[in-house]
Amino acid sequence: MKLFKRLMHLCRRKSPFLFHLNSGSCNGYIEMVTCLSPRYDVEQVGIRLEGSPRHADILCITGPVTRNTLEAVKTVYAQVCEPKAVVALGSCPCSCNVFAGSPVIEGPLSKYIPVDVYVPGCPPHPDAIIEGIERAAKILADRGVPEASKGETQR
C-alpha cells in the first residue's frame, strides 16, 4: 500500500494537466502559450494543456476577477476534480494590479478560491510560469485527495 502511495505521488508530480481560465485578463497568458512552444517545451515535464476542466489538475487563472466572470471562476473551480491546485498567473489575480478599486473588478482571486501559487509579473516570464506550475504539481501531489468530500456541483 505504501508503494502504491509513493507511485501515485510520483505520477501526480510528473503529469500535471493544466486548464487555463481567463477571468478578464488582457491576454497576459500569452507568455503561458510560449511555454508550450518549442523554445521552452513544457511537454518535457509532462505538462499538457487540456480542453476540459474535468480533465485538469491545475487551474491557471489570469486576469483580475471581473464582475462578469465571477460566477464562471467559481463554477470552473468546482468542476476541477480533486486533487487540484490553483495558480494565479500574473499580478492581476494576485492583487488586481492597476485595476484595484475599480467598480467592475471583484477583487483579487484569493477572496473567492484558495490559491496555492502566486506568479507575479506583468506578464510573468515563462521561466516563472514553469516554476510556478511545477511547484503547484508538487503541492497537489503532497496534498493527495482530501478526506472530507466537499459537495461538488454537477456540470
Binding site: P38, Q44, S91, S95, A100, Y118, H125, A128
Partner: protein, 142 residues
C-alpha cells in the same frame, strides 16, 4: 510538399528547447524585476508612492520616522518610481520576481528615521574668491 521538406530540416537541425529543469534564467541586465530601496539614501519624499499606478508603494510619515512599504504582488514593474526618484535610491533587480504562496508574503517594510541635516561646528568665514584681478593686484616678487 514544402512541409515535408520543412519537417526534414527540423529533424536534421535538432531541437531548440531548453532542457528542463534549467538553472539559468533567461533575463538580461535590463530586465525589470523587483524594486530595491537603499535606506541610507531614501529621504521619504513619497514621490514613488504618488506616481505608482497600482499603489504598490506606500509612504507614511509620523513625526520623525517614515515607513516605506512595497508589495511585489501589486507591482506592475513599469519603472515610473525609478524615473521619478530624485535621490536615485530606488533600483530594480534584474532577475525574476519570486513566487509566493500566501497573499502579502513578499511585502517589504522599511522604517527609516528622518535624516537631520548636518551642520558644521563653527560658522565658516567667507573666503575671498581667487579671481584674475586679485592676482594682478598683488605686487610681483623680485
Amino acid at each position: 510538399m514544402n512541409i515535408f521538406h520543412l519537417i526534414y530540416e527540423n529533424l536534421r537541425l535538432g531541437t531548440v528547447s531548453y532542457p528542463l529543469p534549467h538553472q539559468h534564467q533567461c533575463t538580461s541586465d535590463q530586465y525589470r524585476g523587483v524594486i530595491v530601496n537603499d535606506p541610507s539614501r531614501c529621504v521619504g519624499c513619497g514621490q514613488c508612492a504618488y506616481v505608482c499606478p497600482s499603489a504598490a508603494i506606500e509612504v507614511t510619515r509620523s513625526g520623525d520616522t517614515y515607513q516605506w512599504t512595497y508589495d511585489p504582488g501589486k507591482c506592475a514593474f513599469c519603472g515610473r518610481c525609478i524615473e521619478r526618484c530624485k535621490p536615485h535610491t530606488l533600483t530594480m533587480e534584474s532577475q525574476l520576481p519570486p513566487l509566493y504562496s500566501h497573499q502579502g508574503e513578499m511585502k517589504q517594510v522599511l522604517n527609516m528615521v528622518r535624516k537631520k541635516p548636518v551642520r558644521p561646528p563653527v560658522k565658516p568665514t567667507p573666503v575671498a574668491p581667487a579671481t584674475e584681478s586679485a592676482k594682478v593686484a598683488e605686487p610681483v616678487a623680485v
